[in-house]
Each structure stands twice: as structure tokens, then as C-alpha cells.
């Protein structure tokens, strides 16, 4: 059996790296849209003001891009070193999307980022504008392939397990790419990046308003960012609704944990906070039907039969099927070269029970329940902050259109302090998604205890500490460079350009 500390530290290390990576990605995705919209206005109106505005946000984009670039590669290092069983077990399911991401999206970004930064006086206005949009589109495509891989881990489709190679083999690429979990996750994640970019731009612009400088630039930025942010937030809410349906269908334990729902049923209530519930709301969110059945934690552990006759196996039954699958896998591996008939029989049993393969590693059924508090509270924080930020953007946009945005100092401070809040909301989203699916590395097929490599705990702790130090250093450098650029303001580049620098 695997040492618990090894699993915990390996997970902590991966979580740290993923959370750090997600500090940069959403701002890249959001700023890409905002600066592209500004440049579009410049090309349409030929007004140099909009060019300056676009260039300033491109500069901030560049700083974020430079510090964030390659942080995702560390996750791939960890797959090979800390999660080698998992890496081999997923086979080409994971390899194909990541390879496409690396080749297509990376080169697309690298090419058009260069034209965007170096090409202002070298290429035509329209070509430059196309490059700016394609930089953002490239970043989004990059996210698509990563989220296809992640979606497959949440809801594995389009593959078959080959016990000879001990790998999953892709049999339907289209099913993997159009996996409903991946599609919803892609739009939910990318559009949450629009929120991040919008709140960031509004916060920085409000800082200029507080200082009574760059007023025209700040107001124009607020106008563009608010519209992008409101559109993004509404779309995030819509895709969040789709995500709830998928979680209810494919990962019901995650939903039960996120709601702290011990005993389910029809007309299941939605918990706002402990003790405060909206009757029937969870059934509506999870099934789009107030009479829809939502199983609770105990239902999923004990087994249940829904009013429509749908039955859910108990944890013990699933464990039994998992034990049979693993026993057949062992028998197949022992006999595959010496006794073809026994191997064929074992393979047949394995295929019949393959969907419960991972349950063979579960000792106590309590292991099947994710830490409820770590899913319940981040979900509420994410939703609450999302609603607050939507309200903020609506108020800011309304005051800007009324020409009164400069008068409200308290609103400027609120917008500035909302910058960390939008990051907290994004991180909470990932905590709900990833902690909520524990103990699974691949839903129902491979728990983290089987996915982890046999390493010494000490080596994992060492690399964890190195990451904390390196990440903190780079984050501090980024914040410092970014603050310096913001303090200088959008006119700094013009002064430098005019002086021939």
C-alpha cells in the first residue's frame, strides 16, 4: 500500500504548481480580449489614443506572459516523476491533446506575440490587429487542449484499456475532444479569464482615477473592461449551470460534497450557508427539474434507487467489482505468455468490470468521500465573489456612462481591492473541481494512491520547498515589474519612443 504522506505531499506539490500556473493564465486570457478590442477601436477610428491604450495593456500582458510562460511545463515534469503510473496508464489520451497544445497553440502564440510586440511599425494596421486577436485565440486554444485532458480525467470517454500495454488507448478522438465535461470546462475556465482581466483592468484604472491622472485612459479602459467582464461573467454563470448538470451526472459524490448533502432525495435543497437553504433549488440546478433526484453522500455510499427506477451501486458493490477487475488484471498479466485460455478468460472478466477498476484500491469506503469542507466553502466563496464582481462591474459601467465614475473614491478602493478577490474566485473554482473529485486521479479508474510514483517522501518535500521559494521569488518579481509599469502609466512608452529610445 502507498504511504499516505507520499500521496499528500505529491498532491500538495501538484496543487501548488497548478495554482501558481493559474495565477497567470486567466489574466493572459482576459487581457488578450481587452487589448484586442481596444486595438480594434484604434483601427476602426484611427485615433492614436486607442493605440496608446492598447499598447499599455499589451505591456502588462507581456509582463504577465513572460513570468507565466513555461510554468505549465513544471506540471508535465511532475507527471513523469511524481505520477509515473498515472502518466503511463492514461496512454495517448493525455499525450495527444498535450502534443497538439505544444505544437499548434505554442507556436501560434509565439509567432503572433512577436508580431504584436515587434510589429507596430513593421506591418500594416490590419495585420497587426489580426496578430493581436490571434495571440488571444492561440492562448485560448492552448487552454482548450489542457482542459480536454483535464475533462477526460473527470469523465473518461473514447478509450479502451489494453492490459498488455497497461495503457488506455484512444478509440474515438472526437469523443475525447467533444467530451461534454471538457467543452463546458473550457468555456467556464476561459470566460472566467475574461472576468479576471476585466476586474484587473478596472482596478488599475480606478487607481489612476484615485490619483487623478490618465483620466481619459482610465475611463476608456473601464468602459471596455466592464463590458468584456459582464459578458464573461454572465457566460461563466451559464456554463457553471451546465457544469452542475455534468457533475450531477458523472461525479455525483463531488456534487454531494460541494453541497454538504448527506442524505439526498427529490426537491433537494441548495445550501447557501449551513442552516440557510433554498428548498428544491439543488434539484433544479442539478437536473433542471424541481422533482429531480439528487443522491447525497450516504445514498452514494449505501446505494440507492431513484424514483424513476435508476439504481446506484453501493460503495461495497463497486469495491467488489473493482476487486474482481484487479484480480482479473493480475491473472491476465500472470498468464498472458504461458496460458492463453486463462488469459482470455481473465481479459473477459476485466472488460466486464473495467469501469470499476479503481475501486479495487479503495480500502475503507470513507476514502470515497472528498473532504467536504474543502469543497463546500470554496464553492460558496467562488459563487459569492462571482456575484459581487458582476455587481461591481455593472455599477462601475453604469457610473461611467453617467459620467460620474470619477466622484466615488470608495468605489475606486473597492475596485482595487477586488483584484485579489477575482484571483481567489478562480482558485476556488479549481479547488472545487480537483479536491471534489478525490480520491480519483482518473474518475473511477485510478485513485491517487495508485497513480503516484514510488518516491521517497523527503524528495517530494524538498521539491515542494524549492517550488515555494522559486514561485514566491518570481511572483514578487512580476508584481514589482508590473507595479512599476502601472506607476509609469500609458504615456511612458510614448515618451520613450519620442526620445528615440
Amino acid at each position: 500500500m502507498t504511504e499516505a504522506a507520499l500521496v499528500d505531499w505529491s498532491r500538495a506539490q501538484f496543487a501548488l504548481t497548478a495554482c501558481y500556473h493559474w495565477l497567470f493564465v486567466p489574466l493572459t486570457l482576459g487581457l488578450a480580449v481587452i487589448m484586442a478590442v481596444m486595438e480594434s477601436v484604434y483601427v476602426a477610428r484611427k485615433d492614436e489614443f486607442w493605440k496608446r491604450a492598447a499598447k499599455f495593456w499589451q505591456k502588462i500582458f507581456g509582463i504577465n506572459f513572460a513570468v507565466g510562460i513555461a510554468t505549465g511545463i513544471i506540471l508535465e515534469f511532475e507527471f513523469g516523476t511524481n505520477w509515473s503510473n498515472y502518466s503511463w496508464f492514461v496512454g495517448d489520451i493525455f499525450g495527444a491533446p498535450l502534443a497538439i497544445e505544444g505544437i499548434l497553440a505554442f507556436f501560434m502564440e509565439a509567432t503572433f506575440v512577436a508580431v504584436m510586440f515587434f510589429g507596430w511599425d513593421k506591418v500594416g494596421r490590419r495585420f497587426h490587429l489580426a496578430s493581436t486577436w490571434l495571440t488571444g485565440i492561440g492562448a485560448s486554444i492552448s487552454a482548450l487542449w489542457i482542459l480536454v485532458a483535464n475533462g477526460w480525467m473527470q469523465h473518461p470517454v473514447g478509450m479502451e484499456f489494453n492490459p498488455d500495454t497497461v495503457r488506455h488507448e484512444m478509440v474515438d478522438f472526437w469523443a475525447v475532444v467533444t467530451n461534454p465535461v471538457a467543452v463546458t470546462k473550457f468555456f467556464h475556465s476561459v470566460l472566467s479569464g475574461w472576468m479576471t482581466g476585466a476586474v484587473f483592468v478596472i482596478g488599475v484604472s480606478c487607481w489612476y482615477l484615485l490619483r487623478k491622472r490618465e483620466v481619459r485612459f482610465a475611463r476608456a479602459s473601464i468602459r471596455v473592461a466592464s463590458i468584456v467582464g459582464i459578458v464573461g461573467t454572465l457566460a461563466v454563470m451559464f456554463t457553471g449551470d451546465g457544469s452542475a448538470i455534468h457533475v450531477a451526472r458523472y461525479q455525483p459524490m463531488k456534487l454531494a460534497a460541494a453541497e454538504g448533502l448527506e442524505d439526498g432525495g427529490t426537491r433537494a435543497p441548495f445550501s447557501i450557508v449551513p442552516g440557510l437553504e433554498i428548498p428544491g433549488m439543488l434539484s433544479i440546478l442539478a437536473t433542471h427539474d424541481i422533482d429531480g433526484f439528487v443522491p447525497g453522500i450516504n445514498d452514494l455510499l449505501d446505494g440507492y434507487t431513484a424514483p424513476d427506477g435508476t439504481a446506484g451501486l453501493s460503495a461495497e458493490e463497486k469495491k467488489e467489482r473493482g476487486d474482481i477487475a484487479l484480480q482479473a488484471f493480475r491473472s491476465y498479466r500472470e498468464n498472458m505468455e504461458t496460458d492463453p485460455d486463462a488469459a482470455a478468460e481473465a481479459k473477459k472478466i476485466l472488460e466486464e468490470n473495467a469501469e470499476y477498476f479503481g475501486y479495487g484500491y479503495i480500502g475503507d469506503r470513507a476514502e470515497l468521500v472528498p473532504p467536504v469542507g474543502m469543497v463546500y466553502w470554496p464553492f460558496r466563496l467562488m459563487v459569492g465573489l462571482g456575484c459581487f464582481l458582476l455587481l461591481l462591474m455593472v455599477v462601475v459601467l453604469w457610473l461611467e456612462y453617467r459620467g460620474r465614475i470619477e466622484k466615488y473614491g470608495w468605489l475606486h478602493w473597492t475596485a482595487i481591492f477586488s483584484i485579489p478577490l477575482v484571483y481567489i474566485a478562480g482558485q476556488c473554482g479549481w479547488i472545487v473541481a480537483e479536491v471534489g473529485r478525490q480520491p480519483w486521479a482518473i474518475q473511477d479508474l485510478l485513485p491517487v494512491s495508485a497513480a503516484v510514483s514510488s518516491l521517497s517522501v523527503g524528495s517530494v518535500i524538498t521539491t515542494f520547498c524549492i517550488f515555494v521559494a522559486v514561485f514566491t521569488l518570481f511572483l514578487a518579481i512580476e508584481i514589482r515589474i508590473m507595479l512599476k509599469a502601472i506607476r509609469k502609466g500609458p504615456m511612458a512608452d510614448e515618451v520613450q519612443t519620442e526620445s528615440g529610445n
Binding site: 513572460a66 510562460i69 503511463w88 484487479l326 493480475r330
Partner: protein, 82 residues
Amino acid sequence: MPADSGFVRCLGKIWHLYADGFRDMTWGRPLWGLIILKLVILFAVLRVFFFQPVLAGKTDGEKSDHVGSELIDRAGPATYKE
């Protein structure tokens, strides 16, 4: 050939875009320094000393055997029932 000269001219323009861009960088210079420093830390330190893939150097057959054994060994006692 005109087509060739057009292609060469295009390559020349791409070269100048990058060369002039890097030469005329102002605020981008420290960022490139940062990127290079980060890549050195990632690939020359972390990758070399701390993140060697567990299955590196093995043939596909050996990898299958290794992971197969790991997956069987990690299972609970129920897997060993006859």
C-alpha cells in the same frame, strides 16, 4: 526564380522583424532576462537534478511491466483471492 526571391524576401522580413524587435527592446529586455533565468532553473536545475522521469530509459515493454507490477502491488489483499 521570382517565386524563390519572393520567399527569400519574406524570410528576410521575418528575420528583420525579430532582429529589430529584440535590438530595440526597452522594457522587454529585463523580461527576456527573466524568461531565460526561469528556463535555466527549469531545465538545467529542476529537470536534471529533481525531475527525472521514473520510466525514462525503459523500453515500452519494460514500462508496461513496471506499471503493471505497481498497479497489482498497490491493490488491497482482496486482489489476491484465488
